[in-house]
């Protein structure tokens, strides 16, 4: 346990040191890299030990805050998330150093370093917290650090807007969590997690309240629709290494919270699990549909995070269903699918955000349509991006598939069918989501990295330093590695899921045997794909070695003067898919067709605003403002009125209470 404490402390101290050392860039950089290495090593060691069966005693220290105990504990559930936090945190942190250096002052170094380290430290603390107050402290520190990161480049109005929105959302979520813990603490008589677990059963109304509060509180952070409104605004606004940490890990902390509560409070009802599944599917479909039509690649990634959160929530809902129907196998399968996908998502999403950062720095824009042709100019970055993009689509032989495979295995399980009729429909929805992901990411990768440069800046792009490429390469290697050899990741996921589904250790390891065998075959076939690819590639090389290999322009179907502007744009690429779902997307198009017989000015513009943020929320706030304008009439500046309020209040109270 002292390892966890050491990791948190190392990060925390380094955060303050880096803020102090801002003037001396090199020293600050060394501090950050050193702290990340130390924390990663210490925390990683601890997490691995716990995941591989070692019991680590809790650390309990008195803490002089009413109700608080400094209680750290680590079980496989914590350990698996800790692993993710440190992995992504270290990769993104190292990358961040390169990113800050390469930004030439656009990214303010001091806040970017400080808040990033605090963010990682608080998340590491969060997963170890075993006391509601400690949990809240870590939670809010995390939220505030992320706010600091989002607002790093506050000179831009859209960044300020995003920061404000994020702050509002996260605080509302935190308040719900406060209410939640107050409610749990009331019944347990203490704010210790162990005490929450010891409470036999809450009354039905309170159970509902706990469920709803947790759903809103944690869901706000995770970004369940329609609580996602901040996500697609805030993630693009933050510096890319921060977006990677936020999207790859921070939002997953919402799911950690939900899983932790489940582990403490036991099963939720069948109906509630169904609600979770439905919410998860809605979130997934919503997220990916809007990802598909984005032009800003960081926004696209953010929406895709919403999608993946939806998938994870669906899986968690399936786990809850298993708990509710007293079927430990189903529960374990659902939760391990959720956790495995969480780990995978953390890896590939942070990889993609990191490469998005590279592209952004090279091109100076987040618009896909300003990129193009980057693969020729920055081959390494784009190769890593390709791996990330394929992984996030859930394609074998990469890691994204492993988690989705577990979830599909639940949904298409023949023995799950009699209880949950719509499991197969859920599988179909997931299939749509998967197919849409292919649309979104073939667009993101294909149009940004391939083809011809669509802007001057894209023409001059270069691969970044190894400090930035190295962490990305590590993440990409993990994508491939887990895809081929999923057993370790599955082990972590199943061990963590065992915590949530209250299974004994032998049962968990038996289950692990079973699933690792099956997933091992998946990995084997994945390896087969790689081997086959290599063989065919060699074969192709042999074939071509003796032949003439020429080069020329892309064939323009007879048109002889093609330009880069004639390429398919990102928006047009997604149109055929989006057209089918126009009613759901609410895309607004503004068309000015050319008039007359001769070439004339024409324009076309399409925009797909977020419905929750730009359609529903304004209506709500307008209502609310109308409603608030009434009391505002009371403060009109007339002293006489103020005196009247005092007198009237006095007389009323006298007549009423005396």
């Amino acid at each position: 346990m002292s390892l966890l404490l050491a990791a948190v402390l190392a990060l925390g101290i380094a955060a303050s040191l880096s803020a102090v050392l801002t003037r001396y860039g090199q020293a600050a950089r060394t501090t950050v890299i050193g702290a990340l290495t130390v924390a990663g090593a210490a925390g990683g060691l601890l997490a691995l030990r716990v995941l591989w069966g070692q019991d680590v005693p809790d650390l309990v220290r008195p803490w002089l805050i009413p109700g608080a105990v400094f209680h750290l504990g680590i079980d496989p559930l914590s350990a698996s998330f800790l692993l993710l936090v440190l992995l992504v945190g270290c990769c993104a942190g190292l990358y961040g150093e390169g990113y800050i250096a390469a930004s030439h002052g656009h990214v303010p170094a001091a806040p970017a370093r400080f808040f990033f380290l605090v963010l990682v430290a608080s998340m590491a603390l969060l997963v170890g917290a075993r006391n509601a107050l400690l949990f809240m402290v870590a939670w809010e520190t995390m939220a505030l650090a992320a706010f600091g990161l989002v607002s790093c480049e506050h000179g831009k109005p859209e960044v300020r807007k995003a920061g404000l929105l994020y702050l509002l959302c996260t605080h509302v979520g935190s308040l719900c969590l406060l209410a939640l813990f107050a409610l749990l603490g009331r019944n347990a008589g203490s704010l210790e997690f162990d005490a929450f677990a010891a409470v036999p059963a809450l009354p039905a109304a309170q159970r509902t309240a706990v469920f709803l509060l947790a759903l809103i509180g944690f869901g706000m952070k995770a970004g369940f629709v329609p609580l996602h409104i901040w996500l697609q605004e805030a993630h693009p606004a933050a510096p890319s290494h921060a977006s990677a940490a936020m999207s790859g890990v921070m939002i997953e902390m919402g799911l950690y919270g939900l899983l932790r509560l489940l582990a403490l409070l036991g099963p939720i009802s069948m109906k509630a699990s169904m609600l979770l599944i439905a919410l998860g599917l809605t979130t997934a479909v919503f997220g990916i549909m809007f990802a598909m039509v984005q032009r800003d690649f960081k926004r696209l990634l953010a929406y895709s995070s919403i999608e993946n959160i939806g998938i994870i929530l669906t899986a968690a809902g399936l786990g809850c269903y298993g708990l509710a129907s007293a079927s430990p196998t189903l529960a374990l399968l659902g939760f391990s699918g959720a956790i495995l996908h969480t780990l995978n998502h953390g890896i590939f999403k942070s990889l993609l955000f990191l490469s998005a950062g590279v592209v952004y720095q090279a091109v100076g824009s987040r618009n896909i349509e300003a990129c193009g042709g980057l693969q020729k100019r920055m081959p390494w970055t784009c190769a890593l991006t390709a791996i990330g993009a394929a992984a996030i689509c859930g394609l074998p032989p990469l890691n994204g598939f492993t988690g989705e495979w577990l979830i599909y295995s639940w949904l298409l399980r023949p023995d799950a069918g009699h209880g949950i009729r719509f499991a197969a429909l859920a599988a179909a929805v997931l299939a749509i989501v998967g197919a849409f992901a292919v649309v979104a990411f073939s667009k993101c990768y294909g149009l940004a990295c391939l083809g011809q440069p669509r802007s001057e800046a894209a023409r001059g792009a270069k691969d970044p330093s190894w400090l930035m490429l190295g962490p990305m390469a590590l993440l990409a290697t993990l994508c491939i590695g887990i895809g081929i050899f999923p057993a370790p990741a599955l082990h972590a996921a199943i061990a963590a899921a065992g915590n949530v589904s209250h299974l004994s250790r032998p049962a968990v390891s038996a289950s692990f045997e079973e699933w690792s065998r099956l997933l091992g075959v998946v990995g084997l076939i994945g390896a087969g794909v790689w081997v086959m690819t290599a063989l065919l590639w060699v074969y192709r090389g042999l074939l071509l070695r003796r032949r003439e290999v020429g080069s020329g322009p892309t064939w323009g179907c007879g048109f002889t003067a093609p330009t880069a502007r004639m390429q398919y744009t990102g928006s047009s690429y997604a149109v055929p898919t989006a057209r089918v779902f126009t009613a759901l997307l609410g895309t607004r198009e503004e068309v000015h067709p050319p008039l007359g017989y001769w070439p004339a000015k024409a324009s076309f513009e399409s925009r797909t605003p977020d419905p929750a943020l730009e359609r529903w929320l304004p209506v709500l706030t307008a209502r609310f403002n109308d409603w608030l304008s009434l009391p505002r009439q009371l403060q009109r500046g007339r002293l006489q009125n103020y005196l009247l309020y005092v007198s009237a209040f006095l007389v009323t109270i006298l007549l009423w209470k005396l």
């Binding site: 599909y408 023949p414 073939s442 099956l518 794909v529 003439e548 290999v549 064939w555 898919t577």
Partner: protein
């Protein structure tokens, strides 16, 4: 050993043969003689011996795409019972099967985008659009079959058993899978594999710039995909053990499937692009209905 040899045999020879039979059927219906049945095989061999011309815009993705898509198809083939037990079978291989095709699609699409050609971009965009509807139909059909079979393995799901009670759901799944087959393999009424330069094309327009071994890989991969899906359907219809033996049954079935596809292509026109989603939604509906019957 026999499994491996029959796998290799089918994987190498079935695709060109099946494409040849389709072409032959269409020619026959149209009253022409048509090219020899083995023509696709000759084409492939010829292409393998040719050099290649690459666009200056393209990168390694363009070259890797065909390779990966073929190896994905080959990997998928290992999961399909090709005249006997498949090379690899496990609970859940059906999902891997579906996703391996998705992998093939992803690399084909990105390879097409690598050229920077607006035509290929268009093809890619349509490909992903239609597959996003074909995918759920496939999964739903798999689901109803899995429920019937009690296992999520292709070998178990695509086996002729269950008797008349399951017939209705099986037929619906079959119909749905057939539409998916047509869509995924770019056959009429979704796509027309014979024309290359129409603005309405999907798959063929994506491979405009490929040539030489790359094109050979693509063509073979596409054919293999057709064979694999067809062989699954065949197993659903034909009994496992006929007098022809498993391999013979499969060969017969594939040939029959090729004839059916040829007949469909001859008797129908390509649908307007905007109608294609409706066809696929019909497939989804059929799957859903079949699933409901299977769950009943």
């Amino acid at each position: 050993m026999t499994r491996v040899s029959s796998y290799l045999l089918l994987v190498v020879f079935a695709p060109p043969l099946m494409l040849g039979i389709i072409t032959k059927t269409k020619a026959a219906v149209a009253g022409r003689k048509g090219p020899p049945v083995l023509q696709p095989l000759y084409d492939t061999i010829k292409l393998l011996g040719k050099g290649a011309v690459y666009s200056t815009t393209t990168t390694w993705m363009f070259r890797l795409g065909p390779v990966i898509s073929l190896s994905a198809a080959l990997a998928a083939a290992a999961l399909v019972p090709l005249g006997g037990a498949p090379l690899v079978a496990f609970n859940g291989d059906a999902i891997l099967f579906a996703y391996l095709f998705a992998l093939g699609r992803f690399v084909t699409v990105t390879a097409a985008l690598d050229t920077g050609s607006s035509f290929e971009g268009m093809g890619a965009s349509r490909e992903v659009a239609f597959s996003s509807l074909a995918e759920p139909a496939l999964i739903l059909a798999f689901s109803s079959l899995a429920h019937r079979a009690g296992a999520l393995s292709l070998a178990a799901m695509f086996a002729p058993h269950g008797g008349p009670s399951a017939a209705a759901s099986t037929i619906l799944a079959l119909g749905s899978l057939f539409i998916v087959l047509l869509a995924e393999n770019s056959r009429i009424p979704v796509d027309d594999p014979n024309t290359h330069l129409e603005l309405t094309m999907i798959h063929e327009v994506m491979v405009l710039d490929h040539g030489g071994p790359d094109l050979a890989f693509i063509l073979h991969g596409a054919g293999l995909k057709l064979v694999l899906m067809a062989s699954l359907l065949v197993r659903l219809i034909l009994p496992d053990k006929t007098f022809l033996g498993p391999l013979g049954t499969l060969a017969f079935g594939l040939a029959a499937a090729a004839v059916v596809i040829g007949l469909v292509e001859s008797s129908m026109a390509r649908l307007r692009l905007v109608r294609v989603p409706q066809l696929l939604v019909a497939a989804i509906c059929a799957s859903v209905f079949g699933l409901i019957l299977a769950l009943r």
